[in-house]
């Protein structure tokens, strides 16, 4: 299918007016009569045994209606599997909700209070007396894996919860045949998704045990199933209504508040609202891993990559489950490398438990590998895009993680980068240009869709995916395309867990691909029913009714013979006759989709560095990506621009800063420095479309890939601008200045006495 009437157009999103006028209701915007407010007491220590908790003073305070602690969370060892991106351990999730024996990070929830006002709840939380036995915190990977390090969990020696390997050929021998070998060790800090809307929910449970939860989440079905499993309830007793969601990027899949709000509601027989502060979001939700990565590449003189070895250590935070494995699977995806060895370690440390963050695990891994590939190109004096093209994978090549690639667009993306005017543009003084590739699998998983046809020929489509960035309008476009009705006549709806068929999270770049396919199949179900109605009206067999451009077409000749007459019936004609031809028409589809087509991107960055201060500025940026098919190009560009800017923030400024006690020192937007409008240029985008055969329109998924390339792209531009290879992020002014100073000093010391004397004189 290549000619589209609606797909690829840019209509105004259906939820747009509500969102530009302030009417759209987000997590914290919902309230109920008689509602109480919850607050959480959190551990001031990064690692401490909880000796005792005395809640009596809090409970005695006027206005306080209930206090809960870890004792109220039943132990649970079951495992909830969420498919590709995260397997959530319910025991750990329950212990993370309210600590049982040990506080495992600064900010770990210890107790929760419900009171008549927010102020009362917060004040009461402060009255809870907790006796701690403070333990030595494990604040980083090197400390965690050192012999004799304190253990977070008895089960994990050296705090390594998991180790995995991937290999092909014989990397060690192949390195001996290489003409050039580059090996470096990289570090990236813990960083946060930085969604602007803090976590928020309202829960109400009745005397019949039936609960309703209103919350901001990427996955209402995950919230329902997690609450049910953690609290030992039937899923049938819980209904989750997703609010509009103010950003998630993977961080709004895990439950932090909802089970507590249900428990507090149960104890008080009143609705309970819980809203996190920004400080709590930083300290106690799920950022992504800080990492240590050692990467080594070997190449022939002509640029052919012959061997690679990559060792990854990822901080999981307080409980196992970092995306180290995904990092291992992603890091060598762009290249045909006959011999490689990859090992990945999942390391527990006294920091918040990490959660998914946009292409979880891939950005850090590819920061390391794409920096080393850049150095290989420099050492061989080969253009970095040419070197990548020479080694680039294409259809039929085996991915490092196992399967053979189907149609993929890496070479097309690299060609587009090479031919982009940006790549040819001259650079000014103190500027450098970097390029790097990025990869993400793009998830599939399970989705459902229902479409109802209205008597006037308009339609409504229901799915279970909260709309985080334009998925409603994308789904409406698909219905419009299939039924041939204007996109404005399709009403897309995010349904609650009682009203939609099971649908996995809004995440994994899967909504347009997997849920989109469910929507298309549901629309085709409607179309088939419309054809049957036309057959009934025309008193012919349904096989004799075709469908063209939004109307049923009779395939019978005017005289009843084969051939075709000019009889047609539009959707509106058929919808108007529904009551007389068989009743309402509802289309439905449920799909279980394999992992989508792999997505590749290449980014180009021009960075200007002030050699006196170390401050750098992105002066030009271009993001190029194979998206398969852009359903609504504006929102595809938006994903590419947004991912690029998050990655630029990661590269240049963002980091969790912990003191020696493991306490986060920058839990606010002033000191956790995300990019603002004056930090960035316009971000140019090039959409490459190599159709994904797994989707009817070729959709591949778009949202995650664009955060992967920027880390190395920016670092490679920094290398170009300064001559210094930086291996630790962020490239903040102090770090860059220090690096430049050390480089100047070492260069000076390495110079001969004559040069030194000349430099000293000047």
């Amino acid at each position: 299918m290549t000619d589209f009437a609606y797909i690829g157009t840019r209509p105004i999103r259906h939820d747009g007016v509500d969102k530009v006028t302030g009417r759209a209701a987000y997590g914290a915007d919902f309230s109920l009569p008689g509602m109480l407010h919850g607050a959480i007491l959190r551990s001031p220590h990064a690692h401490a045994r909880i000796v005792s908790i005395d809640t009596s003073a809090a409970e005695a305070m006027p206005g306080v209606k209930a206090v809960i602690t870890g004792k109220d969370i039943p132990p649970n060892s079951a495992k909830l599997v969420l498919g590709g991106e995260a397997a959530l351990d319910l025991h750990d999730m329950g212990d993370n909700l309210l600590a049982h024996d040990k506080a495992l990070y600064n900010g770990h929830a210890i107790a929760a209070v419900a009171a008549t006002t927010v102020d009362d709840a917060r004040e009461a939380a402060e009255l809870i007396r907790v006796e701690y036995e403070v333990l030595t915190p494990v604040t980083g990977i090197d400390q965690a894996i050192a012999p004799g390090a304190p253990r977070l969990h008895q089960a994990f020696a050296n705090n390594i919860a998991h180790r995995m390997e991937l290999k092909r050929g014989d990397a060690e021998s192949a390195f001996k045949d290489a003409d050039v070998v580059v090996e470096r060790e990289f570090r990236t800090p813990m960083v946060h998704q930085g969604y602007i809307e803090p976590h928020a929910c309202v829960a109400r449970i009745g005397q019949d045990g039936r609960a309703i939860v209103w919350c901001s989440t990427q996955g209402p079905f995950v919230v329902r199933d997690a609450c049910a499993a953690i609290l030992g309830m039937d899923a049938a007793l819980i209904k989750v209504i997703a609010s509009e969601i103010g950003g998630g990027f993977g961080g709004k899949i895990v439950v932090y508040l909802e089970p507590l709000a249900i428990l507090l509601s149960k104890k008080t027989n009143r609705p309970v609202k819980m809203v996190m502060s920004r400080d709590e979001v930083f300290r106690a939700t799920g950022p992504t891993s800080g990492t240590k990565i050692r990467a080594r590449f070997g190449a022939k003189r002509d640029g052919t990559l012959v061997a690679a070895s990559v060792s990854l250590w990822y901080e999981a935070g307080a409980y196992r489950g970092s995306p180290a494995g995904a990092g291992a699977m992603c890091c060598l995806t762009p290249y045909r490398i006959p011999n490689f060895f990859i090992e990945a370690h999942d390391v527990v440390v006294n920091k918040p438990k990490v959660a998914a963050y946009r292409a979880p695990g891939s950005p850090m891994a590819m920061f390391a590998t794409e920096s080393v590939v850049d150095d290989i190109a420099r050492q061989l004096d080969i253009d970095p895009i040419e070197l990548r093209l020479k080694n680039a994978v294409s259809e039929g090549d085996q991915a490092p993680y196992g399967p053979k690639y189907g149609p993929i667009g890496l070479k097309q993306v690299l060609d587009a980068a090479k031919n982009h005017p940006h790549y040819q543009a001259p650079l000014a003084a103190n500027q450098g240009r970097g390029v790097a590739c990025g990869f993400w699998f793009n998830a599939g998983m399970n989705s459902s869709a229902t479409i109802t046809l209205n008597p006037d020929g308009s339609a409504a489509v229901f799915t279970g995916n909260p709309d985080i960035g334009g998925t409603r309008v994308a789904q409406a476009l698909m219905v419009a395309e299939e039924l041939g009705i204007p996109v404005e006549r399709v009403r897309p709806h995010v349904a609650d867990t009682d009203s939609a068929g099971h649908t996995d999270v809004t995440g994994g770049s899967r909504v347009c691909y997997a849920t989109g396919n469910a929507v298309i199949q549901a629309a085709r179900d409607v179309r088939d029913q419309l054809r049957a109605r036309a057959a009934k009206i025309w008193k012919t067999d349904v096989d004799r009714v075709g469908w063209e451009a939004g109307r049923a077409v009779s395939l019978d000749g005017a005289d009843g013979s084969a051939g075709r007459d000019s009889k047609t019936l539009t959707v509106s004609d058929l919808a108007a006759q529904m009551p007389h031809t068989g009743g309402p028409i509802v289309g439905r589809a449920a799909v279980s989709m394999p992992m989508a087509g792999p997505g590749f991107a290449a980014h180009i960055c021009d960075l200007e560095v002030d050699p006196e201060t170390g401050r750098s500025t992105v002066v030009r940026y271009t993001a190029i990506q194979d998206v398969g098919k852009a359903v609504h190009p504006s929102y595809v560009e938006g994903q590419m621009q947004g991912g690029a800017s998050q990655g630029i923030g990661w590269a240049l400024n963002e980091e969790y800063v912990f003191n020696a006690d493991g306490v986060m020192e920058n839990a606010g937007f002033l000191d956790y420095r995300m990019p603002v409008a004056s930090d960035l240029p316009m971000i140019d985008t090039v959409i490459v479309e190599v159709a994904n055969p797994l989707h009817p329109y070729g959709v591949r998924g778009v949202g995650e890939v664009p955060i992967v390339p920027p880390l190395a792209t920016v670092a490679n531009a920094m290398r170009g601008a300064t001559g210094v290879r930086f291996t630790e992020l962020p490239l903040s002014p102090p770090r860059v200045l220090q690096g430049l100073t050390e480089w100047r000093q070492s260069t000076f010391q390495a110079a001969g006495p004559t040069t030194q004397a000349a430099l000293t004189r000047s």
Binding site: K19, A28, E637, G638, Q646, F669, M674, A677, L680, M682
Partner: protein, 186 residues
């Protein structure tokens, strides 16, 4: 934080109203009755003396279009126009609204007609999740009220007090510049 917000905060003693209440011997434990004008509508509400304008707007008045992202004045999601000045409602005490004129996101459209900024945000797809959008539109309106023809750099610096994590700002800046270019900023 935009330059205008910084100036406002540095010139303004946040606690001054509270201090006046104390020195005048008013019992500060009871709620304060505030009369103000919000989006052209005379409005009354009760608030605690220490309550922020943001929580009063959202809870007492019921205008939830103004969003809370941080309560420290760093994200701009709660941008409102107070007596003609762009401020983060989280850093203004609710009692300071006494006798003031306030514009929130709910007052930007002219009845059934969207403000040109709202229209251009939609046309440019200048929002993804939309949580920062009310703050951006209010801040951009304050910009265009003060400077109907801003350069891209002026626009970027004015809006530097508003965080957006989804868009990379590209389409937001284009939408605002487009409104300025069309010259219909009211």
């Amino acid at each position: 934080m935009s330059v205008s917000l910084r100036m406002y905060l540095s010139n303004h003693a946040i606690g001054s109203f509270f201090d006046r209440l104390r020195t005048s011997g008013t019992e500060v434990m009871s709620k304060i009755h505030i009369e103000t004008t919000i989006n052209g509508e005379p409005t009354e509400f009760l608030c605690e003396p220490h309550e922020s304008l943001l929580t009063a707007l959202r809870n007492a008045v019921g205008l939830t279009g103004t969003k809370e992202g941080c309560t420290t004045g760093d994200c701009g999601a709660c941008s409102v126009i107070l007596n003609g000045r762009l401020v983060p409602a989280c850093l203004v005490l609710a009692p300071e609204a006494q006798g003031a004129t306030l514009t929130t996101i709910e007052g930007i459209a002219d009845g059934e007609r969207l403000h040109p900024l709202q229209q251009k945000f939609l046309e440019h797809a200048a929002l993804q999740c939309g949580i920062c959008t009310p703050g951006f539109i209010v801040a951009a309106k304050a910009l265009l009220d003060a400077n109907p023809n801003p350069s891209e750099e002026e626009t970027r610096y004015w809006l530097a007090g508003n965080l957006c994590r989804c868009t990379g700002y590209d389409k937001i800046i284009r939408a605002v510049m487009d409104v300025a270019a069309a010259g219909s900023t009211k």
